[in-house]
């Protein structure tokens, strides 16, 4: 019984750790969005100001998936 519980918890914690790799994907996505925004902005600075909001929306969408993986990790760790 106790061993079974420990096994479940171990599995959950390993799963949480694996879920955290998803955050790396979100980081890559956010970096991609901002990097492309910046390279575009340096080519055409006049148009940059108008697209800041779009950039933030893109960041938000990219980041949401990282937050999902963070949430999955938390759920695995704490909510059983």
């Amino acid at each position: 019984m106790a061993v079974e519980g420990d096994l479940v918890q171990m599995g959950a914690l390993i799963g949480a750790g694996l879920a955290c790799t998803g955050m790396g994907g979100a980081a890559v996505g956010v970096g991609h969005v901002v990097g492309n925004y910046l390279s575009g902005a340096l080519r055409n600075p006049a148009a940059a100001a108008g697209q800041t909001a779009t950039m933030f929306i893109g960041i938000a969408f990219a980041e949401a998936l990282g937050i999902f993986s963070f949430l999955v990790a938390l759920l695995l760790m704490y909510a059983q």
Partner: protein, 253 residues
């Protein structure tokens, strides 16, 4: 399990989630619906801070603004411009609602960064209510303004016909995921940042002289969090504007 963790704790007594516990402010009873809790306290402080900034700050009504008045005006103009840029002139009708959400999230986030504070916006319950309110309101506005044509949001007429059902399915799923991502983004960011600070603080308590490193790290993370809380308030408001724009103009973006 809790007792086990206590006994096994070899100096690292880190409880990063303690700061999010909702407790009654007076006594130790259960948390009922109308109990005065730390949620009540910090939401009350949020309201007072907003009144101090926006009502007392603009008391002078000066043409040449004082410092506090110019802060209030910049926030007002910021939200106004954001709404007008994204949702157009028709969107300005909903300005008070967006402004309410934005200022509440911004001030609650910033107040949550005070050491020892309780962050109301780190709770799924709070953000989910706001996100669901936005979702339901926007959907209703969409159907009210466009009738059944609002469903055109999911039927991408510029795509090849054969792809349209698949795209419609994806669009519908992403539409219903909106409130989830909208709420979890805010709560998750708040929770993660505060938990990270708390974890570093736990290290600092256990490391003795070397606690200077965690403390420096806390300062860095705190600066980052300062940025994150403002950006999250902005993102919540801007996504609300985007959803509103979808409801007002489902055809073109």
């Amino acid at each position: 399990m809790s007792a086990e963790a206590e006994s096994a704790g070899n100096g690292f007594n880190i409880h990063p989630m303690d700061q999010f516990v909702v407790k009654p402010l007076f006594g130790h009873g259960d948390v009922g619906m109308f109990t005065i809790t730390n949620v009540t306290l910090w939401m009350g402080i949020t309201v007072l801070a907003i009144i101090a900034l926006l009502v007392l700050g603009t008391r002078g009504r000066a043409v040449v603004p004082s410092r506090s008045q110019s802060i209030a005006e910049s926030i007002y103009l910021f939200v106004h411009k954001m709404l007008e840029d994204i949702a157009g002139k028709e969107g300005l009708k909903y300005f008070p609602y967006i402004f309410t959400l934005f200022i509440f999230i911004l001030v609650a986030n910033i107040l949550g960064l005070i050491p020892g504070a309780f962050t109301t916006t780190s709770h799924i319950a709070v953000t989910a209510v706001m996100a669901m309110a936005v979702f339901i309101t926007v959907t209703l506005i969409g159907f009210y303004k466009n009738g059944i044509g609002f469903l055109g949001l999911f039927w991408i007429s510029s795509a090849p016909l054969i792809l349209r059902p698949i795209l419609a399915l994806i669009e519908i799923i992403s539409y219903f995921v909106r409130p989830i991502s909208h709420s979890i983004r805010l709560a998750g960011n708040m929770m993660a940042g505060h938990a990270v600070i708390k974890v570093f603080a736990g290290f600092a308590g256990a490391l003795g002289v070397f606690s200077v490193f965690p403390i420096v790290a806390i300062m860095a993370v705190y600066g980052l969090e300062m940025l994150v809380v403002c950006i999250q308030a902005y993102v919540f408001a801007i996504l609300t504007c985007v959803y509103l724009n979808d409801a007002l103009h489902p055809g073109g973006h």
